[in-house]
């Protein structure tokens, strides 16, 4: 009998669940309805719609924006691996225990502290205009090159801190066990500590990658015409903000799936730990 008919508890829980779902659907619908009905009634809605949501401008500018976005993706694509490498190196240098290598460790600490503390845009200006201003010839003064260097410097500092937190989260016993086998410090780090540490901080690093994808746009301050600069040009020529909405949508099309994926990784990791 138990298997074919529901117990009283099961019937109760089903009813509860149905009620909760109804409530959720109802309240969501109410909020959406209020937004759709009320916002257009605001006295300034016409002006806002014309300035931000002009359908024709949206369609006209979208292809140009998408073309400019390729540059964002390219900058991201060559910065990300460099950031991973430099971040890892800085994290390792930061954790060096051997006294002879203390200068390296201090340099890593100074580097991480300074670049984590500076606004990205300032570093981009300083490195992007400053270093080429010393008199480098083309192509070595390219804003793409030095803008990317600025991004790599800043983001590697963040990544280094994240990896370091991962290294420190690995229990001392793992180190002792590896050392007791006669492995060198370098092998202990490479084979035992880092693989575990890096795996642990994948979600945190995913978030940094998403932030990087957005900060790539800051390179436009020193010349490269990427999507936000392109949107700004359209805005200036048309005296209309709609191109920014287009740019934002293109960005979201990339960052939302990436964010979801990061959340998914985080959830999986938490499940695995519990």
């Amino acid at each position: 009998m138990r298997h074919t008919s529901q117990t009283r508890r099961e019937i109760f829980e089903t009813r509860q669940r149905r009620r909760a779902n109804l409530l959720a659907a109802g309240s969501t619908a109410a909020v959406l309805l209020a937004l759709v009905l009320l916002v257009p009634r605001a006295p300034g809605w016409d002006a806002v719609q014309r300035a931000f949501f002009d359908g024709q401008i949206f369609l006209d500018t979208l292809p140009g924006l998408a073309r400019a976005f390729v540059l964002d993706v390219a900058i991201f694509a060559w910065c990300a691996p460099l950031i991973a490498l430099l971040g890892l190196a800085a994290a390792i240098a930061r954790g060096i225990r051997r006294p002879a290598l203390t200068p390296l460790r201090l340099a890593a600490i100074a580097y991480i502290d300074i670049f984590r503390g500076l606004p990205v845009i300032l570093v981009i200006y300083l490195v992007g205009f400053g270093i080429p201003g010393l008199g480098l010839p083309r192509p070595w003064n390219s804003p793409y090159l030095w803008g990317s260097v600025a991004l790599v410097l800043v983001y590697s500092a963040y990544v280094a801190e994240v990896i370091r937190s991962g290294i420190e989260s690995i229990h001392e016993c793992q180190r002792a066990a590896a050392l007791s086998l006669g492995l060198s410090e370098a092998h202990v780090m490479r084979d035992v500590i880092l693989p575990q540490a890096v795996r642990r901080v994948v979600p945190a690093n995913m978030n940094l990658l998403i932030a990087l994808q957005k900060d790539v746009a800051l390179l436009s301050f020193i010349g490269p015409v990427e999507i936000f600069r392109q949107a700004g040009v359209y805005k200036s020529l048309l005296a209309n903000f709609t191109p920014y909405v287009g740019a934002a949508l293109i960005f979201l099309a990339v960052t939302i799936p990436a964010t979801r994926y990061a959340d998914h990784l985080l959830a999986r990791q938490q499940r695995a730990r519990s």
């Binding site: 806002v48 300035a51 003064n141 020193i222 010349g223 700004g232 200036s236 020529l237």
Partner: protein, 272 residues
């Protein structure tokens, strides 16, 4: 107090007595005051020393002259600062007129109102002596195509650049004059396109070895770069402002102010 003197001078330059004219009455955002916006910062030679209330600089002087025509005494003019974005954003504005070398274009005119133009500018090529030497530049289109170009992204220089020069490599764009000249000093761009007065100013002040290679006279380009005062779309003030500017143009005041505040551009070669 010492500020009043230049202001008074500007008013004298603006012509005869303050015509008491009430076409603006009831149309300004605060009664009895004309609120004019400029950039933050405002650049020379349009506004000297980032101080529009001094009446020094071409736009500052024109502003007081227009105000006088509209019936506002110098002490009835108040200044605010806006970015370009604030000038075009929807919703209530905190200025009656916005004056920062806004070029009049049909596309912009759909979103905001422009006054009659108060200035027509030639576009000029700003570069550095070292570049002229290295590239053996001459003021002709062919030698300009191969350069690496820059421009201020918020101006109409870019479409002019693409239409007149159509450079071989994509131009690089910047947020303001300072960044354009910084890129020039860093050797990241060879040349940049500006309105002539701005180019002359930057060549003289912002760059050590700045050179104006040449100009495209305004009547030559398809869309001459004409500066107008920007007003919110449908502004009731527009007829009043237009009348004032027309008067100032016809009675020669605008020409006088140009002579007074804008550097003499004779001798800048014309590019063909």
């Amino acid at each position: 107090m010492n500020r009043l003197l230049p202001v008074a001078l500007a008013c004298l330059a603006a012509g005869p007595a303050l015509a008491q004219n009430d076409c603006a009455a009831g149309h300004t955002i605060s009664e009895g005051t004309l609120t004019i916006a400029t950039g933050n910062p405002a650049y020379s030679p349009w506004v000297l020393n980032d101080d529009p209330a001094s009446g020094e600089g071409f736009e500052a002087a024109v502003a007081y002259a227009v105000a006088a025509e509209m019936g506002f005494a110098p002490d009835q003019v108040s200044w605010v600062r806006t970015s370009f974005d604030q000038a075009i954003q929807p919703g209530a504005k905190d200025f009656d007129l916005n004056m920062q070398q806004f070029s009049i274009t049909p596309e912009r005119d759909r979103m905001v109102d422009f006054s009659e133009p108060y200035y027509s500018s030639a576009m000029a090529v700003l570069t550095r002596a070292s570049v002229v030497e290295a590239e053996d530049l001459s003021p002709d289109l062919d030698s300009l195509k191969g350069l690496l170009w820059g421009a201020d992204a918020n101006t109409t220089a870019l479409p002019v650049l693409m239409a007149l020069i159509s450079p071989e490599r994509d131009p690089r764009l910047y947020g303001d004059n300072t960044d354009v000249t910084a890129a020039m000093k860093a050797g990241q761009i060879d040349a940049a396109l500006f309105d002539l007065p701005t180019a002359l100013y930057l060549a003289a002040v912002a760059l050590d070895d700045g050179v104006i290679l040449g100009q495209f006279p305004s009547e030559r380009s398809e869309n001459p770069d004409r500066f107008g005062m920007l007003m919110p779309e449908g502004s009731a003030l527009k007829p009043c402002v237009d009348a004032a500017i027309t008067t100032l143009r016809e009675n020669g005041t605008l020409a006088e102010l140009e002579v007074k505040w804008l550097q003499d551009a004779t001798g800048v070669p014309v590019i063909d």
